[in-house]
Amino acid sequence: MTDRVKVKRSMPSLIGGIFTGLVVIALWMLLVGTGFPLIVVGVLLAIAVGGWIRLADL
């Protein structure tokens, strides 16, 4: 069994997370539409994806 060490997150995961979040919301609006509830869902999805990229330190 391996001991887990403290993960120091890198700058690319922060920039990449934000950038991918923007791409996700753009793709979402292009594919699904731009009604207010849809935009809210798209923003939440983008935050989830971007946040995960940061937390997972990709």
Partner: protein, 251 residues
């Protein structure tokens, strides 16, 4: 069989993977981004004529050279401003996977196998910029087809790369093109030749064209070589004396 150095690298790398990381989410995210882009662009292609379709073979060739150039000149060279790519690839991916042990053990190893999802996001944006220009000089359909095909080629790249590092090759050895790139890429993971040889990861076209290949045969022979090691060159320049070439033992 894994060398002690490779085993030590793996043992040091794995605990540093974030507990939030999931290989399954990583793969699904790449697939979702790629497929969403393909679906959106494909829906806009209307009544294409034959000249529109010409963009497909040109994109196949262009992405093949692009993949080769990125790998040869950025991923294996310490270039100022792109050091992160070099470190992630040459100093991590190539230490984790060598031609002695080329397989991942579980989905957490996808962290070091696949590109991060923002690489695809960047390529989609680059492709969209190219498509915007193509729309003026060629046609609107060609522009949509360009983004479709570049996104498809990216997914193709990641899928073939997975096929190169998956442990059980019982099926892949029998799939044309995929078996070719598996042998081609495993050879590339030999650390004494990795800086200059076998840079393609989809179809070894640019490697054949620019003579950065470990095979001595023609274009079709390269693309459909499969697992055949009879044409492997014996005169390859080696970077340094390292472990023996494990492929040659199998001939």
């Amino acid at each position: 069989m894994m060398t002690p150095r490779q085993a030590a690298f793996r043992a040091g790398y794995r605990p540093r993977i974030s507990p939030w990381y999931s290989g399954t989410v990583h793969v699904l995210l790449i697939a979702a981004l790629g497929l969403a882009t393909i679906i959106y662009c494909a829906r806009h292609v209307q009544n294409p004529v034959w000249t529109d379709w010409l963009v497909l073979p040109l994109t196949l060739f262009g992405t093949n050279v692009f993949e080769w150039a990125m790998h040869r000149f950025l991923m294996h060279r310490p270039v100022k401003g792109f050091m992160g790519i070099y470190k992630r690839h040459t100093l991590a991916h190539h230490q984790f996977f060598t031609d002695h042990e080329v397989s991942f053990d579980d989905t957490r190893d996808f962290r070091i196998t696949f590109f991060p999802p923002y690489a695809l996001s960047l390529f989609i944006c680059m492709s969209a910029a190219g498509a915007y220009l193509l729309h003026f000089v060629w046609s609107t359909n060609a522009a949509w087809l360009l983004v479709c095909s570049t996104s498809f080629m990216y997914l193709n790249y990641e899928f073939f790369h997975w096929g190169c590092h998956v442990k059980n090759d019982g099926i892949i050895r029998r799939i044309p093109l995929m078996n070719t790139i598996r042998r081609h890429h495993i050879a590339h993971h030999n650390q004494s030749i990795m800086m200059n040889v076998n840079m393609n990861l989809t179809y070894p076209i640019a490697d054949w064209l620019f003579r950065t290949t470990d095979l001595d045969r023609g274009l079709l022979g390269h693309v459909f070589n499969g697992c055949d090691t009879r044409y492997v060159r014996r005169d390859l320049k080696k970077a340094r004396n390292s472990a023996p070439d494990s492929r040659l033992a199998k001939v």
